[in-house]
Every structure is written in structure tokens, then in C-alpha cells.
């Protein structure tokens, strides 16, 4: 996610500099919030894959600093592989979110209390092998979902970056088992030429009869083994014949951000 020279000429990039955001990504979260009022009533947040920290800055400003009534101290936890310089009201953790140990550390920080909102803007280093990149991206989302099932309060919201590649409809179907409402949203701050979009998953509904249990020596796949979320993950007695009929679903698409806001594809 290094800044290419293209980014530097981008209006959002310049605007981010002016307004003191660490990355132009801030506008994506702001535009998503404009559309979906993500921060309403939210006091406890996990920001996954957060470095350099512009989403955390937004969360700090909107949740920590605007916390006037002060009934309880807001909690924002930001996690990334990369180190992050401190942000007011944000607890940072340098760790790999695909590792179960990281998830249990986050749970510890929250001390048994649920979170209201979990977001992830994570993206792996692109290898160029499209299917491998999509798999790793899906793993980041699955790890975030693992945390979600352990930490998010019922009714809570989950937002994550996706790339609308070939199996994204499978991912939508999986999310449909955990959330009442799944939307694919594209802020105008994301380039039209990029495949990047965000899933906005609202009203978390725990899977009936399934208690998520985080074990340190367990892979993400194993974690979800007994939760029926569309794809069959459990290793059975047989490797079944390939089923092209896996459940797929297309989430509704919403472009967000005002039409009068800047166009990230335009040359000004």
C-alpha cells in the first residue's frame, strides 16, 4: 500500500495532508460513515490493519473526542503488523491478525466487554498471483470475522476492505450468515479504477447454537468448522468432488460520498 506517485497528485492526498490525516484512506471511512452513520452510539471499537492510522484518527476524533456525556470511557484498539505512532485515545498493538494469539490479546484488552464496531482496512502485499492474493485477503477478513464473533455485540457493525475479484460472491454468502444486512459500498475516495470496495455488515446476529471458542492452536478454518457459514470447511472423511454449486450471493452495491465530493479519478 505504498504511495505511488499517482497518489501524490491525487486531490484526496493533498486534502489529507492539509487536514492532518495520516493517509487519504481517512476519507473512505468518513464517506462510509456519511452514508451509514457507522459511529452512532459507538463507544468501543477495534480498528484492524490500522497503520499508518488515519482510520484510527477518524475514530479518535469522532468517538473519543466527541464523547461529551462521558458515561463510560470509549475504547479504541488499533492493530497492525507495522508500528504506529500514538493517537489520542487509541491503544495500539503491533501484531498479525491472522494469528490466534493476537485475537486473544485483543479480547484481553476489552476485558470481557463487547465491542460495538469492528473495522478492517487490511490488505496484504500483492504477489500478482490473483487467486493467492484473493485467498490471503479472504483470510484477513476471516480473521477479522473470527474476532467479530468473539467480541462484537449482537446488533453491532463490521466494515472491511474487499477486492471484488472472482470469489467475492462466496464471501458475501458467508457474511450473510452472520449479519442481517450486507452491502458492498464504494466511497468516492476509492478510485474507480481500483477493485477496492468495503463490505458494510450491519446487525450482527450470532449463529444460533454455535459458541465461538478461541483456541491458540487453531486455524481460522478450524475455528469456523462447526459454524455453518456457507462454505464447507470441515475436513471430513472424504475430499468431495468439486461442487460448482457453492452458495453465492451478490450484495447490493452502494456508491457513497456526495456526488459533489472530489472525484479520485479526475485530474484537476
Amino acid at each position: 500500500m505504498g504511495k505511488s506517485s499517482k497518489d501524490k497528485r491525487d486531490l484526496y492526498y493533498r486534502k489529507a495532508k492539509e487536514e492532518g490525516w495520516r493517509a487519504r484512506s481517512a476519507f473512505k471511512l468518513l464517506q462510509l460513515n456519511e452514508q451509514f452513520q457507522l459511529f452512532k452510539g459507538v463507544r468501543r471499537v477495534v480498528d484492524l490493519c490500522a497503520a499508518p492510522g488515519s482510520w484510527s484518527q477518524v475514530l479518535s476524533r469522532e468517538i473519543y473526542e466527541k464523547n461529551v456525556d462521558g458515561e463510560s470511557e470509549p475504547k479504541i484498539v488499533a492493530v497492525d503488523l507495522q508500528p504506529m505512532s500514538p493517537i489520542k485515545g487509541v491503544t495500539t498493538l503491533q501484531a498479525d491478525i491472522t494469528h490466534p494469539k493476537t485475537l486473544s490479546k485483543i479480547l484481553d484488552i476489552f476485558g470481557g466487554e463487547p465491542a460495538d464496531f469492528i473495522c478492517s482496512d487490511g490488505a496484504p502485499d500483492v504477489t500478482g498471483l490473483h487467486d493467492l492474493d484473493e485467498y490471503i485477503q479472504a483470510q484477513l477478513i476471516l480473521s477479522a470475522l473470527q474476532l467479530t464473533t468473539c467480541l462484537l455485540k449482537p446488533g453491532g457493525t463490521f466494515v472491511a476492505k474487499i477486492f471484488r475479484g472472482r470469489d467475492i460472491d462466496l464471501m458475501y454468502a458467508q457474511l450473510g450468515y452472520l449479519f442481517e444486512n450486507v452491502i458492498c459500498a464504494k466511497p468516492r475516495a476509492s478510485r474507480g479504477t481500483s477493485l477496492e470496495a468495503f463490505i458494510v455488515c450491519r446487525n450482527y446476529t450470532p449463529i444460533p447454537g454455535w459458541t465461538p471458542q478461541l483456541k491458540l492452536n487453531q486455524s481460522t478454518e478450524e475455528f469456523f468448522e462447526d459454524a455453518s457459514i456457507a462454505r464447507k470447511n470441515k475436513l471430513g472423511d472424504k475430499l468431495e468432488n468439486y461442487l460448482p454449486t457453492e452458495e453465492r450471493h451478490i450484495a447490493p452495491f452502494v456508491a457513497c460520498g456526495d456526488l459533489s465530493s472530489y472525484d479520485s479519478d479526475a485530474t484537476y
Binding site: 499517482k6 497528485r9 503488523l81 498479525d96 491472522t98 494469528h99 490466534p100 502485499d125 504477489t127 500478482g128 498471483l129 490473483h130 487467486d131 493467492l132 485467498y135 490471503i136 483470510q139 471484488r164 475479484g165 472472482r166 467475492i168 460472491d169 458475501y172 458492498c184 464504494k186 468516492r188 474507480g192 477493485l195 492452536n217 487453531q218 486455524s219 481460522t220 478454518e221 478450524e222 464447507k232 470447511n233 470441515k234 475436513l235 471430513g236 472423511d237 472424504k238 475430499l239 468431495e240 468432488n241 468439486y242 461442487l243 460448482p244 453465492r248 451478490i250 447490493p252 452495491f253 452502494v254 456508491a255 456526488l259 472525484d263 479519478d265 479526475a266 485530474t267 484537476y268
Partner: protein
């Protein structure tokens, strides 16, 4: 309702896996979900399906690994099981029964089974080809077996783990008789080496290898699991001792991620393939703990080499790139055919007789026949003091030639210093039975030494060329022989004095004498002229000489009158930017012109057509500078030059020249022999290279120290086929003569070094197919249309989309790669079969002219940049032309006949990333852009534009990032009539643009309508008599059908969204191409290609998975076979290119 169906036909794309089958001549290649099988020895591809379609192993997933079981018996090496894995898919097939003989139905994917997680690696049980181990991306090993065939799935026997379930990027197995070792390359925490326990679920970590930085991309052990080799994000290669777990050697060299590693040659060598496009061979010295890069092979283009394979027995390597190429490599680096001859060596072998050498005496030059034909491969070596040695073919015998010619001896001795410090030219004339060596002293004194078949001196004659010249002549510094027939050779002599003419004379090889009446003195051009390249054409008598600063001069020797002095017919000074002309070669004489190849040392190469300028007046030098104006002719020049091909070598460095070779290929059951390859040679830093420019790979390199050395490349003068072994490269290094026989194809190992040509190595952004079908063999058995692809790699490839009219097999064969763009391609459109228009990021806009068979009868395509549109805003590298469209304007001399009428120009509309909309009139004859409309939409990026023509009116439709479709009227200039031909709408009539006219504004749009939530990525227009349908595809996954209606005058009366399908795809829609007026082929990034019908709304007709990632472009066309059957074909591009048949039921 007509409904079409999509049938996949051929696929060109990244090679994702490669594997040799031991003890056979087979190589299996995984192309995404497909396989191709090759006989590596013959270079043939084995047809697996009768209809020449690709054979699929998996429905969707790409094959990332291929493993071969041990054969049942050594007498049946093809009776092996093959394990394929990739993504979550696994399949075990018998090579002989399932693949070679069982796949004619093209349905091997019925055997595909699904794993519960991504499979990183797999292997067979030690003695059981029916049982396999799979390593998943969470570091779990699954043990499974086939029961019967695997049609019912694979039975799971158990699973193992080592308590470390972190995500893996790489991994491998080493299965020994009693142990199974697992090597796991993690994302964050190094490498785990573990072995499977006795009970399932258990695994014991033997080593945790840390030392690399970042994710591990490859880890593999040698056969007995004593050593392992690994690579990571840090680009190093590390070797580990598996007894101790110590890192015992580290090698650096690759400039990017490494994707393949393998030990070979008893673990003393390693082969690696990398994202930096190179394959490297490393020597591993276990004693000293050194890993040294021995050889670098640049075999691929674009980005990434994913796959590699080693044939351990034959020592052959194979590499497979993102560009689809498969390259074979001789891994045996010991048998290099190199000979180094020093002066000492020459004397030591001189029949035991010692030779007295002067101090500083070194080898100056070498004479040899071309390696082809001449039954003698002996050499003549000449030292700086003019000693001539005869060296036998196998370098075992050396003889100092002793001519009984006093004069030479004396001259040599008396003028020794003179020879050394100046120039001593040796020319060599070859005949079937004898050869002549010509030694020329700077004084003009010459010796013609006739040698017999064994290079023994037969005869020596002497001559002084300056005796023929009356006028004073300083001295001779260059002698250039031009051999055109076996009986005659021309000689050209050069002196350093600009006032001295060139001397040109014909030599009769049979009579051994100059034809003195042929002597011509050629006045040098007025500009400074140092001869650097030359050729002579007998048909027109043109002697073409090249010099530094891209200066060229032509003499017409047929115009010689009684005086023997000629001045240049024409000189061009600096006609292109660049420096020295390094090669001039007459390609062929056409009826009224000459085709000439020119290389410039800085890397540009071109083909010029030289003809008489009929309007010529007095001769005057033509000076042309800058690139924009490629017209090399002015009113007063005697000769007219048209550039018909121009390109830049992709390689960089110094370009010295080119060699053409021929190769053949097959389309279905027909064999075609018409493909010309251009091999370029030159120097890059310390290397001499031979590069196949047509196919885009390095054929051969030699670390010779650079171009300043004496060097010579010798190759057959006859037409060369793909059998490239007959090259020899000589150079002098450290006072040694190095003789390199280029063993490009070790014939005992393989017959072709490039098994598959492939395509772009990066995403294809646009595809265009020309309209007219042409025949390849003149018998219509194979017909083709031109297909152009523009890619993120900044190149345009011009190919032929070939169709065998017998079996309807389709193939894309690249003919030309154009490299003038310096940014990623955006759009491509054929204007007709002769002109192609392209635009790329950074406001690059080029019009290309393609000569396909119009220059002589060969099948070569000559492509050059005809004109470019100068960027509108200087210095804004971010301003992009997003899309363009054109409307052709024909003159009205020829009514409706679309073939005969001639194109005068076109209206061109362009949209920009800063919201500019421009319309130009382009005058094709005078090469001029006239700006007609200059306007803008609103502060956002416009993505797409189309001209829409209806009842004598022109409109323009644009789609932008705001999801709006906007329609403007464009006034029809007087004198032009609208016509709807087979190839779309056109204007006919006389159009004259008045130069003074200011650019107009568009005025208010006729219609603005939001259709999509955000960007309209693509549009396709369909003309019906009453109305016009515009199908739009958006970034919002949706497809819209917008219909424009008109009154009798062609005025738009309404624009209505007739239909809108909001989940037409699960990702961005990227291209729409017409199949008929009511059916459209639609591509989207979700890798599904769909056909939609627009009669009464939008109806999905067919949807098929397409294996090409980043699916972003398409075009469609229809062929007709001899029986009149229509064959509709679609080409789809992304990371690769795939060809589909569109069947109408």
C-alpha cells in the same frame, strides 16, 4: 429470441506450473486450470482434444503444482499418476490412460476434488501412487487415497500438524522410505521443518529456520533431505544444513521475489525463477559455503516468472512466465563450446616450429567461412604484425601460412608500425570451392590470396587500387566488400579525408581481377561523414551508406556516365534523434522501390521504403529533426522515403544489427510456414546479446567485456530457420581470441528453446479486431483478421487471429510488438485494416499504419507510427485520454462500395481525465489534426465516449465517473452525407477544414441521465432503424439499456432507460462487445463472461467462468468459412487472452 452460447476455445495466459515426466520426453504445463503437454525434445505440443480446444483439469482454480508418482515399472515411464493441486482443488490422474488417451472429450475436470483449505503443496506416498499428502495453507497435512478412480472423491486417511498453524506462503514435502518431511514457509515466522509422526495428528518440529526477512516464498529440500534451499521477500537464496539447522550459504542477485527453486546435479547446483524475469543458475560449493550465480537467463517479458521445472536426468530446465512463455534451458554449463586462442597457443602448435613474435604482437582478427555449408570450418587468424595462421576445425592444428611472396614480407616488415597503428583490412570472399583473402594496406596496396578448400594458399596476386585513381588520395582506412553474386564482389574504400571520395569498384571473382571500367569515385556528402554501415542493391543501383548522427546518403550507380565521379543522389542528416547507424541492409527490391532495414546503435530500428520522388527538382540535403514529423521527403529531394516500420529494442544497450529467421506453426490441422522472426544483436553493458525481438526473449548472451573489443558474428547468409545453432561469435579479450560456438539448441536435448510464445506479461487493457478477413495460404484454408492488444506493459502487440476453415480451430499468433508508448495502454481501435489508433495514459495518442502484405508478397507486418497527437497540456503527466471514438470520412468518388472508396480522414472525439471533451478533424492525407470542438463536462473524469449517428445527424454520448450518460449534438459539416455500411457508420463527401476556424463549444447537452451509481466503465452502441440502443456497464456491477429515439430529421426525441440490471455481475463491468444488434458479450472483474440479449429488456443468455484474472477487455468478430458458415469469435483479455466461440442456436 436468438440465444447464443459461449464455448471456450484457446487460452493464452500465465504458466502456473511445470513438470517434466521422468524418463520420458514429456513436459506438462499448467495454464491456469488448463494443461498443455509438450514433447520437449521435438518442441511439439501434443494435441489432447480432437477439436484443438484446451483441456481443463479444474473448473476454476489454477494449477499451482504438479507432482509425478514413481512409475509402476521402468519399462512404462508414462504409466504414472499425476497429482495436480491449486487453490482448494486436487486431482489425481493417470498420465497414460487419463491424460494422453482419455481426454479427447475435454472433460478431465470431472475428477476434480475439493480440499477444505488452500493447498500449498502435495506429494505421493513413498510406494503408493494412489495415496497422497497435501499441505494446507494452515500448515496441516492431509493424508488421502484414491478409491477406484477419484470420481467419487478422495478418501481421507488422517491429518497431521506440528502445533504451528500459521498461514503459509510456500511449502514442500520430501517423502523418503521411512520418513515424510514437511517444509513450511510462513508469512511471518520463518520456516518450519517437521516430520509426520507415527500417529495421525502428530508432527514433530525438527528445525525452525529463521534468518530470512519477510514471508517465505519457496522452500525445498534435496532428494535425501540433507539440504534445503529457501527464498523470501528479502530476495536472497539460503541453503540450510538439515542436520544442524544452520544456514550454510546465502546467494544474492535476484532483483525481486523468487517463485521457484530446485536443486539439481547432485545438489551442487540450484535453479531459480523470479519476478525480475530472470532464471538463474547457481553453483553451490558445500565445502566453502558459497552460493554463486553462474548464469542469468532473461527469458520472459512483462512481469514475473511463476513456474519452473528441472529434468534431473537430462539436465534441462524449464521456466514459465506470466507472459505465457515456456522457455527451455540447458542446465549443463560444463560443455560450453568455447575456445580461447592466444599467440602462445598458435606457436606451440605450429608443427613444432617456433614463430618469432614481436613484443606486443596480438591477434588482430579472424577469418572464417559462415558456419553453414562451407565444408570447411577452419579459421585464418591474423596477428597485428600480419602473420597469418591457419587453424584447423577442431583447433588441434595450427600452421603459419607462408606465402612465397616477397613483397608482402618486406612490406610487412618495413611497414610494421604503420600496420599496427593504423588499419589493416582483411576481406574475405567465399565461393563453394575456394575463398579469397584480400589484404589491403593503407597505401592502397592489395594482395589477393586464393585459398583452396583446405585453406592452403593456391595463388597470390597483387594490386594497387590507388593506381587507378588519378586524383591525390591520402590513405585507405576502410575496405568494405559487398558480395552480391558468387561471381562478383564490390569493394568500397574509405579515406579519413572528407575531400577524398569513396572508391567503388567491382571485382570479378572468377577472373581474379578488378573491372577497372567499373571504378567510380563517390563524392562524400557535404556534411561530416564517417562510414558506419552500408549496403548495395543491384536492381536500382543504389549504394546506401550510413554514418554517425543518423545521417544517410544514397548514390545511384546506374546513373554513372562517362566521368567516373558521382555525387550523392540524396543525403539525409539527422533524420531521427539518435546516434550512429549501425546497420543498413537491403531487405528487398519492390517494383518501384527498395525496402531497407536500418538499425541505430541507440536501439531504434526501422524499415524504410526508398523510391524516386517524381516531383523532385534540385537536390538539397534534407534535415529533419524531432520525432513528430516522420516525413523524410521534401519537394526538392530526389528520393522519397517512407518509414514503414519503426520500433525500439526492448533490450537497451547498443544495437548492432539484425538477422531474420523463419519459423512455422500450426493452426488446427494446417501447417503454416510464414512467420518471420527478427533477431537483434548488440551489447548491453558487458554482454553481447542475441535477442528474439519478435517473440520477446533472449536467445543467447556472452560476457565478453563490451562492444569496444574486436568482435565478429558469423551466421549463414541463406535464410535461417529456427534451428539457430549455426552462429559463431568471435572476440578478443585479454589478447586472446575467444571463439564461441553458440550452442543455443543442444540438439541432443531439445529442438526449440521456446515451446510457447505467449502474450503480454501484464494486463491486457484493450483488444481490437480488424474487419476484413484475409487468407494465409491463398486457398482460404486458413483465414485471419488482425488482432491488436494493448497492455499495461506499455506495448501493443499486433497479431493474427487465425481460423482454420476446415476444423474451425482458432489461434492467435503474434507478429509484431510495438514499444513506442511509454505508459500503460488505455484504448485501441482499428480505423480499417491499415490504420490502428491507440491511446495510453499520459496523453499519448498514436495513429499506426500497418502494411500487411502490401510491401511485397511476404507475410511480414510492417508497422510504424503514422502520426501522434501532441499533448494538450504540457507537463501534466497525470492527464489521461480516457477514451476516444472516430467517424471515418470517405471521398465520394465511389458511391457505396466500401472497399473502393478511399479514406480522407476522420472525425475524432476524445475525453480526458480532467473532463475535457475534444473533437478533431484528422486529415489523413496531409497528416493534420484540426481542433473543431473544445469543451468540458464538469469537474470529474469522463470514462467513455461514442459517436452516435442517425438520419444525417451526429451525436456524441459520454459516460463519466458520476454514473451519468450525457448526449450532445455535433453539427454535421456541410458537404458530408451519412452512410451506414457493413463496417458501421461513415461520412461521405468532400470536407475541407478552414484553418482559421476557432474551436466550437458543444452547447447544452441534449440529454443527461443518471444510469449508474458511479462510473460508467463501458458502453456499446447498437444502431437500429428506429432507435439506438446504448448498453452501459458500470463500476456498480450493473448493466443499463438506454434507448434514444429520433424524429424524421434525426433529432433526438427521447432517451429512456429501458432496462437496468443492478446485479448483472458481482464486480465491475469492464467491457461490452456486440455479438449482434441485440446481443452483447459482457466481461467483468468477477471473471464471468456473459451474453445479454436486449430485446425487450436485459436478459442473461449465457454465463461462463473465464480463467483470465483482471478481465478487462474484449472484442468480437465473425468469420465465414468456405461453405458460408458463420463462425463468431470473441477475444477476452486481462492477465492473458482467451478465445471463445459464440454459437448461435
Amino acid at each position: 429470441m436468438v440465444s447464443s452460447s459461449l464455448v471456450p476455445h484457446t487460452h493464452y495466459g500465465p504458466v502456473t506450473a511445470l513438470k517434466f515426466i521422468p524418463n520420458t520426453e514429456f513436459l506438462i504445463a499448467g495454464y491456469g486450470p488448463f494443461i498443455k503437454i509438450f514433447n520437449y525434445k521435438t518442441g511439439d505440443s501434443i494435441p489432447l482434444s480432437k477439436t484443438h480446444e484446451d483441456v481443463k483439469i479444474f473448473e476454476k482454480n489454477k494449477i499451482h503444482g504438479i507432482v509425478i508418482s514413481k512409475p509402476h515399472s521402468s519399462s512404462e515411464p508414462t504409466n504414472v499418476n499425476v497429482l495436480f493441486y491449486g487453490g482448494r482443488s486436487v486431482s489425481v490422474l493417470n498420465f497414460q490412460t487419463d491424460i494422453l488417451h482419455g481426454s479427447s472429450n475435454n472433460r478431465l475436470s470431472v475428477h476434480e476434488t475439493a480440499c477444505n483449505d488452500w493447498v500449498i503443496s502435495g506429494d505421493f506416498h513413498y510406494a503408493d501412487p494412489k495415496s497422497i499428502y497435501l499441505l494446507t495453507a494452515h500448515n496441516i497435512v492431509i493424508d488421502a487415497s484414491i478409491v477406484g478412480d477419484n470420481l467419487g472423491g478422495l478418501q481421507v486417511n488422517g491429518s497431521y500438524n506440528c502445533n504451528e498453524k500459521s498461514i503459509l506462503y510456500s511449502g514442500s514435502f520430501t517423502v523418503l522410505n521411512d520418513e515424510v518431511y514437511v517444509f513450511s514457509g510462513t508469512v511471518m515466522s520463518g520456516i518450519y521443518v517437521w516430520k509426520l509422526g507415527r500417529a495421525t495428528t502428530s508432527g514433530e518440529v525438527l528445525h525452525h529456520l529463521t534468518g530470512h526477512e519477510g514471508s517465505i516464498f519457496g522452500i525445498k529440500s534435496n532428494d535425501d533431505a540433507t539440504l534445503a534451499v529457501s527464498c523470501s521477500d528479502d530476495r536472497s537464496i539460503k541453503i540450510w544444513d538439515l542436520k544442524t539447522g544452520n544456514n550454510i550459504a546465502t546467494g544474492w542477485g535476484h532483483g525481486a521475489r523468487i517463485w521457484y527453486l530446485e536443486f539439481f546435479n547432485l545438489s551442487t547446483q540450484v535453479m531459480s525463477c523470479s519476478e525480475d524475469l530472470t532464471i538463474r543458475i547457481w553453483d553451490f560449493d558445500i565445502e566453502n559455503g558459497e552460493l554463486e550465480c553462474k548464469k542469468v537467463i532473461e527469458g520472459h517479458s512483462g512481469k514475473n516468472v511463476w513456474a519452473g521445472a528441472v529434468n534431473q536426468q537430462q539436465l534441462i530446465g524449464a521456466s514459465g512466465g506470466n507472459d505465457g512463455k515456456i522457455r527451455l534451458i540447458d542446465l549443463d554449463t560444463t560443455g560450453d563450446d568455447t575456445h580461447e586462442l592466444s599467440v602462445e597457443y598458435l606457436t606451440s602448435l605450429n608443427y613444432g616450429k617456433s614463430v618469432n613474435f614481436a613484443k606486443n604482437e596480438t591477434i588482430k582478427t579472424v577469418i572464417s567461412g559462415s558456419p553453414e555449408g562451407s565444408n570447411n570450418d577452419d579459421l585464418l587468424i591474423i596477428t597485428s604484425y600480419c602473420k597469418i595462421f591457419h587453424v584447423s576445425q577442431n583447433y588441434s592444428q595450427v600452421k603459419l601460412l607462408n606465402f612465397s611472396h616477397e613483397l608482402l614480407q618486406q612490406k610487412t616488415i618495413t611497414e610494421t608500425m604503420h600496420f599496427v597503428n593504423n588499419f589493416f583490412a582483411v576481406s574475405h570472399i567465399e565461393n563453394d570451392e575456394w575463398s579469397i583473402m584480400v589484404l589491403t594496406a593503407s597505401s592502397g596496396y592489395q594482395l589477393f590470396v586464393t585459398l583452396d578448400g583446405s585453406l592452403n594458399v593456391k595463388d597470390v596476386t597483387e594490386f594497387s587500387i590507388l593506381d587507378l585513381v588519378d586524383s591525390p588520395f591520402s590513405k585507405i582506412t576502410g575496405v568494405f566488400p559487398i558480395s552480391k553474386t558468387p561471381n562478383f564482389t564490390y569493394f568500397l574504400f574509405e579515406s579519413p579525408n572528407p575531400n577524398d571520395p569513396f572508391i567503388f569498384i567491382k571485382y570479378d571473382v572468377i577472373k581474379l581481377q578488378y573491372l577497372t571500367e567499373s571504378l567510380t569515385l563517390l563524392e562524400k556528402p557535404k556534411t561530416r561523414f564517417t562510414l558506419t554501415a552500408y549496403d548495395y542493391d543491384e536492381t536500382y543501383g543504389y549504394l546506401i551508406l550510413g554514418s554517425r548522427f543518423v545521417t544517410m546518403t544514397v548514390y545511384d550507380l546506374h546513373s554513372k556516365t562517362t566521368t567516373n565521379v558521382l555525387s550523392p543522389l540524396q543525403t539525409w542528416k539527422k533524420f531521427l534523434p539518435g546516434d550512429t547507424i549501425s546497420q543498413i541492409k537491403v531487405v528487398k527490391a519492390l517494383t518501384e522501390s527498395l525496402l531497407v532495414w536500418i538499425s541505430l546503435r541507440d536501439g531504434t530500428y526501422l524499415t524504410l521504403e526508398i523510391s524516386r520522388n517524381l516531383n523532385s527538382g534540385d537536390q538539397e540535403d534534407v534535415i529533419i529533426q524531432g520525432f513528430e514529423n516522420l516525413s523524410l521527403t521534401n519537394q526538392t529531394s530526389n528520393l522519397k522515403i517512407d518509414i514503414c516500420q519503426q520500433n525500439r529494442v526492448s533490450k537497451g544497450g547498443f544495437l548492432e544489427g539484425c538477422i531474420e529467421t523463419k519459423s512455422s506453426f500450426q493452426v488446427g490441422d494446417r501447417y503454416i510456414d510464414d512467420s518471420t522472426n527478427i533477431l537483434l544483436y548488440g551489447f548491453k553493458s558487458d554482454y553481447f546479446y542475441l535477442y528474439n525481438e519478435t517473440k520477446g526473449y533472449e536467445v543467447w548472451t556472452e560476457l565478453c567485456g563490451g562492444s569496444h573489443r574486436m568482435w565478429k558474428l558469423v551466421y549463414p547468409k541463406k535464410q535461417i530457420t529456427d534451428d539457430l545453432n549455426q552462429f559463431r561469435f568471435y572476440y578478443v579479450k585479454a589478447s586472446m581470441l575467444v571463439i564461441k560456438n553458440m550452442v543455443i539448441l543442444p540438439a541432443h536435448k531439445f529442438a526449440k528453446d521456446l515451446l510457447v510464445e505467449g502474450t503480454h506479461g501484464r494486463e491486457i487493457r484493450d483488444i481490437a479486431i480488424s474487419t476484413t478477413a484475409k487468407s494465409v495460404n491463398n486457398d482460404n484454408s486458413v483465414i485471419y483478421k488482425l488482432l491488436a492488444t494493448g497492455s499495461e506493459d506499455n506495448t501493443i502487440k499486433i497479431s493474427k487471429l487465425l481460423l482454420n476453415t476446415n476444423d474451425h480451430a482458432c489461434q492467435i499468433k503474434n507478429y509484431w510488438t510495438q514499444r513506442l508508448h511509454v505508459s500503460g495502454l488505455q484504448s485501441l481501435k482499428f480505423l480499417n485494416d491499415q490504420y490502428l489508433i491507440s491511446s495510453a495514459a499520459r496523453e499519448e495518442f498514436f495513429i499506426w499504419k500497418i502494411n500487411d502484405g502490401t510491401l511485397g508478397d511476404d507475410s511480414k507486418l510492417y508497422v510504424h507510427c503514422y502520426d501522434t497527437l501532441v499533448p494538450s497540456v504540457a507537463g501534466n503527466p497525470d492527464l489521461r485520454i480516457m477514451d476516444f471514438d472516430y467517424l471515418p470520412i470517405y471521398d465520394n468518388n465511389n458511391n457505396n462500395n466500401t472497399v473502393e472508396r478511399s479514406l480522407q480522414g476522420f472525425f475524432l472525439c476524445l475525453v480526458y481525465s480532467n473532463s475535457f471533451i475534444k473533437v478533431f478533424y484528422y486529415d489523413l492525407v496531409n497528416k493534420k489534426f484540426h481542433l473543431m470542438v473544445d469543451d468540458y463536462y464538469k469537474d470529474i473524469c469522463i470514462l467513455t465516449i461514442k459517436f452516435v449517428v442517425h438520419s444525417q445527424k451526429i451525436h456524441m454520448v459520454i459516460g463519466a465517473t458520476d454514473g451519468f450518460l450525457t448526449v450532445y449534438d455535433v453539427p454535421v459539416p456541410a458537404g458530408l452525407q451519412m452512410q451506414n455500411g457493413n463496417d458501421g457508420a461513415a461520412l461521405v463527401g468532400e470536407y475541407h477544414h478552414s484553418d482559421g476556424a476557432a474551436a466550437a463549444k458543444l452547447g447544452r447537452p441534449v440529454i443527461t441521465q443518471q444510469i449508474h451509481q458511479n462510473g460508467i466503465k463501458t458502453m456499446c452502441v447498437s444502431n437500429r432503424s428506429e432507435s439506438i440502443d446504448i448498453v452501459t456497464g458500470g463500476d456498480d456491477n450493473a448493466l443499463g439499456l438506454f434507448t434514444l429515439t429520433f424524429d424524421n430529421n434525426g433529432t433526438i426525441t427521447s432517451g429512456t432507460i429501458k432496462a437496468f440490471s443492478e446485479d448483472a455481475a458481482s464486480s465491475t463491468i469492464t467491457s461490452i462487445s456486440p455479438v449482434s444488434t441485440s446481443q452483447f458479450l459482457v466481461t467483468s472483474v468477477d471473471q464471468v463472461v456473459r451474453i445479454w440479449n436486449t430485446v425487450d429488456g436485459l436478459h442473461l443468455v449465457d454465463a461462463k467462468y473465464v480463467t483470465i484474472a483482471d478481465t478487462g477487455s474484449s472484442d468480437t468478430t465473425t468469420f465465414e468459412d468456405v461453405a458460408g458458415n458463420k463462425i463468431a469469435v470473441g477475444a477476452i483479455g486481462g492477465v492473458g487472452l482467451s478465445v471463445w466461440k459464440i454459437n448461435n442456436d
